[in-house]
């Protein structure tokens, strides 16, 4: 029954309520005074302010390589504050002139190099800028969507989430990559980068992007190369200022840079780096076929000998048990730049926010059956043959073709035997003794 127009205030049950004995039937409704419109608006404003607290959305711009600048200062001598500011501003202006901004990336033309193969401007546009979708359905801002939270806008491996990740995200600015088919100091091939994007890196925060359309992955590869080249050019310009003196950015403003000799120098720096990247696809280390007895008992036995032997000397870092417990106090190439064995210098790097706290590099536990750069025999062949320069793993000491037969250095067959031994380790009893039935354990 409706209460509307019910002057007697009959309740929903349709009964006239009886007065409470000794009390009033009137009840005061606490807390419900006048309409709380103002309070409502005040609460809304408060929510908005609280929600936006601390998030003034910092501008997405390329950071100057402060880490390398401090490193150079430690190596030569600290700059006076005014010169330092001058250097930072000049370097920033020059980098913008050469490579544009994160929203509007630009790639300089280099004579004799088809830049579309290295950093295709169309693909750069797809990966750059804020995340959005064009009217045509083409994506924009792919790098910020998929990579920047860890690798950072500049590709310095210092995205907001970086500190929580182990290992830290890669700093692209040195052009160093771990898992690749080219010799240690060379840039990776296009296929190497593609493989990492498709497969991801197991056991780390680097995901597989296999669900992304191929053109999106391609755009990311071109953008990563762009960040690497940009970073390498920036480093070389800092070296030119501090070490070689070819271009003193503490003195020369952008206007003065227009002098022909300065332009020529900058052009040559860019050309050298871009050319190396353009040629990387032809630098992949050839892989000879494995010997006929590959992965036989004999092959594994030979690999074991080499593993513990003085030439390959894998045991030094991977340990007697191959659990990765040999050398555990070393640092990777990126961390070495922080001079991690000198605490006062590390403190200076950390104080400027240019780096994350140093961590030791951990040699791989070979018994986990997880190889971050890929578990195919050919992947392991490349790792052992070329080494992983960035992580301190040296390239194999290879025997030249014209070496005498008693030369103790390694042949390609030896590398394959090492591959066979490494691949057998996860199935070794030591790797998973806990999986054996109890009676077998007792018998052993």
């Amino acid at each position: 029954m409706s209460g509307v127009g019910n002057p007697e205030g009959i309740g929903s049950q349709g009964r006239v309520p009886a007065p409470i004995a000794g009390g009033s039937a009137e009840v005061r409704i606490g807390g419900l005074g006048r309409l709380p419109v103002r309070r409502f608006v005040a609460v809304l404003v408060g929510i908005v302010l609280l929600a936006s607290f601390g998030c003034g959305a910092p501008v997405a711009e390329f950071r100057t390589n402060e880490l390398y600048l401090i490193h150079q200062e430690f190596k030569s001598e600290p700059l006076p504050a005014s010169k330092r500011r001058e250097l930072q501003q000049n370097l920033k202006d020059l980098m913008v002139a050469l490579f544009g901004t994160p929203d509007e990336p630009y790639f300089p033309e280099v004579e004799g190099v088809d830049i579309r193969r290295v950093c295709d401007p169309v693909k750069l546009q797809m990966a750059a800028g804020p995340v959005r979708l064009e009217r045509s359905g083409a994506p924009r801002g792919l790098y910020r969507e998929h990579c920047a939270h860890c690798h950072g806008i500049t590709g310095d491996g210092r995205g907001p989430t970086a500190e929580f990740l182990n290992p830290y995200p890669r700093d692209y600015r040195r052009g160093l990559y771990k898992f690749k088919s080219t010799p240690a100091a060379e840039p990776p091939t296009h296929e190497d980068l593609q493989r990492i994007l498709i497969n991801g890196i197991p056991g780390t925060a680097m995901p597989s992007f296999r669900l992304l359309p191929e053109q999106d992955r391609e755009a990311l590869i071109h953008y990563v190369r762009y960040l690497s080249i940009r970073g390498q050019v920036e480093r070389t310009l800092l070296e030119a200022t501090f070490q070689t003196g070819d271009l003193d950015l503490t003195e020369i403003s952008l206007e003065q840079l227009k002098a022909p000799e300065n332009i020529e120098f900058v052009k040559s720096v860019v050309a050298d780096i871009v050319t190396r990247w353009a040629q990387a696809d032809y630098q992949a280390t050839p892989v000879p076929p494995p010997p006929e007895n590959f992965e036989s008992a004999e092959s594994i036995r030979r690999g074991r000998e080499l593993f513990y032997g003085p030439i390959a000397n894998c045991v030094k870092c991977h340990g007697e048990t191959a659990l990765g417990d040999g050398q555990t106090t070393d640092y990777d190439e990126w961390t070495k730049e922080l001079m991690p064995n000198e605490p006062d210098k590390v403190a200076r790097f950390l104080a400027t926010g240019a780096a994350l706290p140093p961590r030791n590099i951990r040699p791989r536990n070979l018994r986990l059956n997880v190889f971050r750069g890929g578990r195919r025999p050919v992947d392991l062949y490349w790792r052992i043959r070329n080494g992983i320069l960035a992580s301190g793993m040296p390239a194999a000491s290879m025997k030249p073709d014209d070496a005498p037969p008693d030369d103790p250095r390694l042949t390609s067959d030896d590398i394959w035997h090492l591959v066979a031994y490494v691949r057998s380790l996860p199935y070794d009893d030591l790797s998973a003794p806990q999986h054996l039935p109890v009676y077998q354990r007792e018998r052993q």
């Binding site: 029954m1 409706s2 209460g3 509307v4 127009g5 019910n6 002057p7 205030g9 309740g11 929903s12 049950q13 009964r15 309520p17 009886a18 409470i20 004995a21 009390g23 039937a25 009137e26 009840v27 606490g30 419900l32 309409l35 409502f40 809304l44 929510i47 908005v48 609280l50 929600a51 936006s52 601390g54 998030c55 959305a57 910092p58 804020p130 995340v131 959005r132 979708l133 009217r135 359905g137 910020r144 806008i153 210092r158 907001p160 989430t161 990740l165 182990n166 497969n199 890196i201 197991p202 056991g203 925060a205 680097m206 995901p207 992007f209 926010g353 951990r362 986990l368 059956n369 997880v370």
Partner: protein, 364 residues
């Protein structure tokens, strides 16, 4: 004086209540889809607003929507669902103003309309200004609106009007469950705000900022867990009716689910923490997949369950507050009563049928 002014009975509020329930369910669905938009970073999939690629929102060719890119599909779907929720609120306002003369309820549904318009404008401004900060604020107002719809469900319900939860408890016993529930709602909402900062961390932010919000989020999660356990204890010990302990148990269970979803979201996004991948084969073998369905569902569920927790906490607040809205002497007297009937109280145009005492032995 009983009821000198017209009020509303449960019968009047039946459609208001039904619509409020539908609105709450639709809002939760809307939050789920909105969370999906953020998960897939599809907020800018449609660059204009309130139109969709120049079309009126409702006239955008459905084939382009259905068969278009996934980003466009979920963003436009989110807009359509948002519009549906807006229409539901308008319907709720119309029904309430037509069937109820209750001033508070009438203005309460108008408050929902204001809030949904504000939320829509936030969403629109996020697109027009391409501002991720506004996206985060939009995401923070959404649970608030959901909690508001839950509150509308509560105050338009039969138990609110009936006030049957009054009897059997002295007033001082009723205050504690209410206080604990209110603090739980507040803590959960603050946790949602902090979680939004974790989820919407700007790409150009410093690592220190992210570290601060993550650690705050984890610490607050521990506080919320302990507090909700306290809510359960208070509800079991002191609640005026049997529904409150049950809902408190559901709240606690959902919170545990929420913790699992939060941990799952982290692992699926950033991998195993604390160097587990260096020690254990199962962790070392984990390869994350960007944009995978398990990740999208887990993180989206984490966002949605967060809103659901807030909604439940608000419901508990109102359920435990309801007996306190009665004059203390009345509650004390009623505690001695057996049986129930109704009295009607009109205050400010709102009629409250309350549990009242019947003389001892009446009805026997």
């Amino acid at each position: 004086m009983l009821n000198s002014r017209p009020g509303s009975s449960t019968a009047d509020l039946r459609w208001t209540h039904r619509l409020a329930v539908v609105l709450a369910v639709a809002t939760l669905l809307l939050i789920w889809v909105g969370a999906m938009v953020t998960t897939y970073q599809a907020g800018m999939a449609v660059p204009d607003w309130p139109t969709t690629y120049g079309y009126n929102l409702f006239l955008y060719p459905w084939k382009s929507w259905w068969h278009g890119p996934f980003d466009l599909f979920i963003e436009h779907g989110h807009r359509l669902l948002g519009a549906a929720v807006g229409l539901l609120v308008i319907g709720l306002v119309a029904v309430t103003w037509r069937s109820s003369s209750n001033g508070y309820l009438r203005w309460a549904v108008c408050g929902a309309l204001a809030l949904v318009i504000f939320q829509g404008l936030l969403g629109g401004m996020r697109v027009l200004r391409d501002a991720r900060t506004l996206a985060m604020v939009h995401g923070c107002v959404a649970p608030l609106f959901f909690a508001y719809t839950i509150a509308l469900c509560a105050v338009s319900s039969a138990w609110w009007a009936d006030g049957s939860s009054l009897h059997g408890r002295p007033r001082q016993d009723l205050i504690l469950p209410f206080g604990w529930a209110a603090l739980a709602a507040l803590l959960i909402y603050v946790q949602i705000l902090v979680g939004a900062h974790v989820r919407h961390v700007p790409v150009a932010a410093e690592p220190g900022f992210f570290r601060a919000v993550v650690l705050f989020h984890l610490t607050l999660a521990a506080f919320v867990l302990l507090h909700v356990a306290g809510v359960g204890y208070q509800a079991l010990k002191r609640a005026a009716d049997r529904v409150v302990p049950r809902v408190a148990c559901i709240l606690a269970s959902l919170l545990i689910l929420q913790l699992v979803l939060g941990a799952g979201s982290w692992v699926l996004k950033y991998g195993w923490p604390m160097g587990l991948a260096d020690r254990y084969r199962w962790a070392a073998q984990t390869t994350l997949v960007a944009g995978s369905l398990p990740f999208a569902l887990t993180v989206t569920a984490h966002v949605t369950v967060g809103s659901l927790l807030l909604g439940l906490a608000v419901w508990l607040v109102l359920r435990t507050a309801r007996p306190l809205l009665v004059e203390p002497t009345l509650a004390g007297e009623e505690s001695a009563c057996r049986g129930r009937s109704s009295i009607v109280k009109a205050t400010g145009g709102w009629t409250y049928p309350m549990a009242v005492c019947e003389p001892a032995g009446a009805g026997q």
